[in-house]
Symmetry: D3
């Protein structure tokens, strides 16, 4: 029995797995849980981050407005399913991730610079006032994901270097920092290996610590004759050297099958950006973007996922 | 209170704005109003033009047949909503626009030449016999839109020069003519400025004269990793120098949200080609193509639209 | 009255043409007949081949699994509509075609080599044990389709040479062989002529012998700004020199119109891979892939189709 | 014996054809005649226009300066070979052509607009003061070449519509104008037919009137795996309907063979922009750019050229 | 000491290796030996094939004429260095190879079809009358090279499948035939491995039989920011299974260094198409195209080359 | 009179400016000073770095060997002109830069990683033994150039982020580090502004400290229809905030004009990688690659260059 470490979320959103389901991850039946109607002048809300906060949950949401400019807004929820979002834009940019380290909430996201995107980093304790740090990396990069604790005394950041367009390649790297300002020791983590992720891969939710190592969901992209398809994969990396991959599923765990994933501003996208994990029950709730238009919710357990990864292991 | 000038359409198609709607433009609830079943051997009917005609309405419709060749056909309607279309093809080409000047109906459309498309121009008084003029411009050009009256004694034509393929750029220009045959004084009007239109822009319906200037709807194109998304924007240009933009919305007024706009031969397209405007009520009815497959109808008022443009004005 | 030769399928799947339908081919009302749920770990099942077998039907199905690798699996049906598929993968590759020659079943498909795809060929008498031949052609080629009998003592194979990606061109060729191992006398058959097939064409189901010649369904691809659209066309080739086209419809006979053709892993695809034909009734049942996700079924008669081809004949 | 009409240039630059030469056009032995040293801060001087002026010659020269911005400068010569150029920039833009109509000198060139290049038009009588007209066409266009007299009372202009980059296509059109401001009746002239010009063609020097029609030199572009190769071809068009091609050589008359044509800022370019023609001797002197770096001079006679065109005629 | 088998060419062209040369292959000091002046109306002559014939040598030469269409012409020489070429075109197409089998001369070349290039095959005994066979393969293919004898009773043909343009990939395959008409058993031979050949590889001269196996020169292509660079590599394949590579040099043996290789219609090309080999002396004379413009000659010995391959062996 | 600071090179290579030269930079008359013959198995030697060392000079040279793999080798010279290079490869990668800080020599270069290039950093005191640091940045980056002293206590590094191919964009950034391992505070410096550098810019030689600020030579790339052209520009940045540009020439100071710059493995390249500067005389000697094939040398003075920059200043 695999165990989640250092993460207790008593009121984690949850639905039991349907009897008919043979997949390791199952969707919330009332998906999508968030759409454009949640924020004034929104074109779409998707690819968003949540964390436990006080007795409920707080989140930072990607909101593209009707100019199609990308912004981040905050939101709060008691149950992680029903959300109230604020209209106020906290930052420009997109695809936020959130984690808590020692009572402080760390936000990383794809921020705009004069020369392509970088990884913005900011902290808050109340989701109202934010302290912004130096951008972590040289442009162009996306999918910057912090680890939820220091490892060997250093912050750890996943990134995905890319080019200025709809980049046709992409690998995950891990960088180290003692102070969130200077970054170094850039380690290669993974690159595309299987068909479902053949164009590129990028880190997803904040890694989940387990007794087997860091459980990392990520996205992979396949290019069909009609464009990109985004699916979700998973791997387990070493606890102390988290760029070393111990296990990695050769197949996706979530891929577009529902109408809100197939149809929308960008057809055929499942893009995970956040996951809640409860150590007591082993439950995991994954928040993902559908078709670059809405937010969906999916469930699994640490046991199901880790068994599935090991059963279909690409490593060895 | 903004006023429409020189255009009275007593029986303009109309639905009141739904109470829940906070957008400046709202869709007809029975959309789409026209689909392929309206013409024999049609693959799709979309991107079409209508004008008031006698006691009702006449239209010229883009009909792609099952060879996927593009043609124009005519149609008539009493109420602007329920249409009867003719099977007979009047011209090859696509994306027609119509306007009436002094009792004569002027048709402009994207016509084929041996070296890419040009802007065809023809006139009729009865929608049965047509007089064809010289093509207005050198290929390659699309989105040729005539003004509904001469300005300073000259015909005015919007165009959108392009290349031979799915052009990745596009600006709107305005050309002058004294005789519909020789064109000159080509003036730059707009180019892409905002994300939602970043790939290209092109003129839409025949401009609507108002006391604030020419109200011009146009389309803008965004390129996602899965292709183009077409939305509708709006601007107001100077009454006497109609290439000078006085106001321009920084955001779209209509963008794909319904299944008949998201799904079809070309996913994610709202493409406006015609608008009726009634000076007494201030009502505007916009005809637009959905997913390059069907014709939809949307409504606004001159007041709503002009206020919206000024409220979100890109100019200064 | 056109006649089907050498093919009796008494229990051919069938639905009468709806009264309202004016098209030459009509869809099965319960489409899709096969989806991913039919095989464990399947991502999608589509572009598949069937033949009459014993008192019912056997098939070889393209099954992309959740790694998005392509495989072939077998299946059986009593009525050609309700199928039971096996989980066991018989070959890697995709887009199978099947035909029977003298009691032996010949499978051709797109097989992978170290340098792009080739045409794999294998035979069986029981759909359990298979004998594999040399790959028929140099890579890169797809859409290899065998004729259901030797012509002038030689096997006939349609192919569609291509490049290593989502090839932007494609013509159908016919090659000869005395022994299924050495191939020669490569004859050009058709290339794109009409808009609906302007990007490329490729052979579809096993040709159907008729008294007018070989009835060949094929697919054609149009490129919109949002990618490829696959439709089905038809032609009749000479009985003894089957690379000579006698008649060819200038228009498609089937093109994406239903949600399961518009929406899925690859939007806007109708891709025919098999057809059953019954000489007594003249009925034809066509199996085709929908949106690279599911299997659909459509019907016509030899008379309808041949009349339609001749009525809209591209040849002279 | 073909005759040049309406053009007497007694002191036309000239060298006799070398005995060993079997080509219809031969190079000046002291080529290049102009290089960057002729103008301060020049990076290169090429693709330039000359006309007889007073007792000698005047010219407008493309001068790219060391910012690599393109400008036009004037120059004068007694013999058409030895030139003195001015440092003063008269216009921005490139690839000028010059002709004289009724004592006025007409300059057309590729001018920059906010949205790609157009055809600038200006006149002078002294090569010091210039009157600029409206740009003739909508962008994007290049290679605008005026005829040296009105035909049927209208100015005639060759153009070559294109896209914003290194356009991979290109045809020559002819437009009409009564006033140099409004242009219409756009007639297709030629497109690529032979390998040496397969990528695109564009008009070259001002057409030369002969008793056989308008003798028009033009450039054609072939794309090798290492880029474009520019060569010079020739055709004869109808005197009164100059868009109708009577004869056209199937082969180039000048193509890169010398080091100053093979090597330079753009390797492998012969780009003709001007030609002097003397009716008494039948001599023709052609000015052309070499490798987008220098100006070269080549010679032929009206007889040689017209015979060569007819001997290798693409028309019929 | 490696030995050449089955090939005696007493009067093989030859120059001793210069003392200063440390390369395995050295150029003829009077290069180029053939240029455009050798054939009337030639634009360039290069990439050509030669064989010993009677007391001297015969050749088939690629001649691009001034329309830039490609043709083959014949030529003869007493010493293999000084050639006399015929103006008469024997076939359309390019890049010929020649070999002699049992007194018959076999020509293979890149021939044009309606759908891209194939491999033409023809035979002669006198270089005047030719018998043409079926094209060997489906288009698109280039670099078809026959072995100079049957192996295990079958003809052997190297090919290089490609696409319709300046193909960005390319591997060498070997096909078998009993009769020169039907081809099968297509075997993969090599693909790009090293930087100098990273874009593609293609077979070069007719393989030379040695006691170590078949000595095969081939070309490899590197893509710089300014296009393709063609160099010559070498490998040794198994005598009886000639698709099995025993040794292969990790580096080129000849690459553009001379002005006639750097500068011309296609800069930076050394393209070998023929090699003479003399068993008594071990001498090898290689004919190669320079810059797609001229024919050059280079020398080596079987010993030098085989030692060099083994010394820098990519295999193991 | 501008002054060079902190750099005395008594025996700096030097030639006086030719009387006829009006350019700010002039070439060494015996160029190229280094070619492939200097190292065994070299294909080309170019884009190399030098520093004063002991009584003479040491260098690190880009040497592409005949496999076309890139390596660095060392070399030494008494006069900076005549060099002796070692065959031993010290690192894989290319485009080295060298500087001395407090008696230690710092090498930065474009090193290969599993996912594109990064900036390698290593130090030496004797050019024999090297200590390698962590790669400075995430791939993909090129043109990493260290400043010759710490500024405000931190190392300063210019970089040029890019993509995996022949990147069509490129800006110069500056990063900070306290320890050469962790880097942060990434500051934008410049992007393309003028035609000659319109595709991309990248840092060149180690910046030269002057009393006006840091004198930085850099390269800019223009894309013609036949590929990239590399030229050298110059700017002056703030002494204490060296990412702030005080002055920048709007034009190149060196661009391909000589045969060894126009012709070679990559035509049309001047690529500066090193500069020596002598404070007493104000002399500057620039080492640059020619056509990616050889090393050339050019001269200027701090006065000439700084005056030229200010005279043609892009800033304001």
């Amino acid at each position: 029995m695999a165990k989640i470490l250092n993460s207790t979320v008593k009121n984690i959103p949850w639905q039991e797995k349907p009897a008919s389901c043979t997949d390791p991850v199952w969707r919330y039946t009332e998906n999508p849980i968030i759409d454009r109607s949640f924020v004034k002048d929104a074109n779409s809300i998707f690819n968003s981050a949540v964390v436990p906060y006080k007795d409920g949950f707080a989140g930072v949401f990607r909101m593209d407005d009707v100019t199609r400019e990308q912004y981040l807004v905050t939101g709060f929820s008691d149950d992680g399913i029903h959300w109230k979002l604020n209209d106020e834009k906290i930052f420009g940019g997109y695809d936020p991730r959130l984690c808590e380290i020692d009572g402080v909430y760390y936000l990383s996201w794809v921020c705009h610079t004069v020369c392509g995107t970088s990884i913005g980093i900011a902290t808050t304790t109340d989701f109202e006032s934010w302290e912004r740090y130096e951008d972590a990396v040289l442009p162009v990069s996306r999918n910057g994901v912090l680890f939820p604790r220091k490892v060997n005394g250093e912050y750890m950041l996943f990134t995905r270097p890319c080019d200025k367009g709809h980049t046709p390649y992409g690998e995950i790297f891990l960088s180290h920092s003692k102070d969130l300002t200077y970054w170094g020791k850039h380690r290669f983590v993974i690159r595309p290996e299987m068909n479902w992720e053949m164009t590129k891969v990028g880190a997803g939710p904040t890694p989940i610590e387990t007794d087997e190592g860091w459980l990392c969901f990520y996205h992979g992209v396949l290019t069909s004759c009609n464009g990109f398809t985004y699916s979700m994969g998973a791997m387990i990396t070493d606890k102390n050297e988290p760029w070393k991959v111990l296990h990695r599923a050769d197949r996706y765990l979530l891929s577009p099958r529902e109408i809100y994933e197939f149809v929308g501003d960008v057809p055929n996208v499942c893009f995970p950006c956040a996951a809640l994990a409860d150590s007591e029950t082993g439950r995991i709730a994954i928040y993902y973007g559908g078709a670059d238009t809405v937010v969906g919710l999916a469930f699994t357990t640490v046991d199901e996922t880790i068994n599935y990864i090991k059963e279909h292991d690409l490593i060895k």
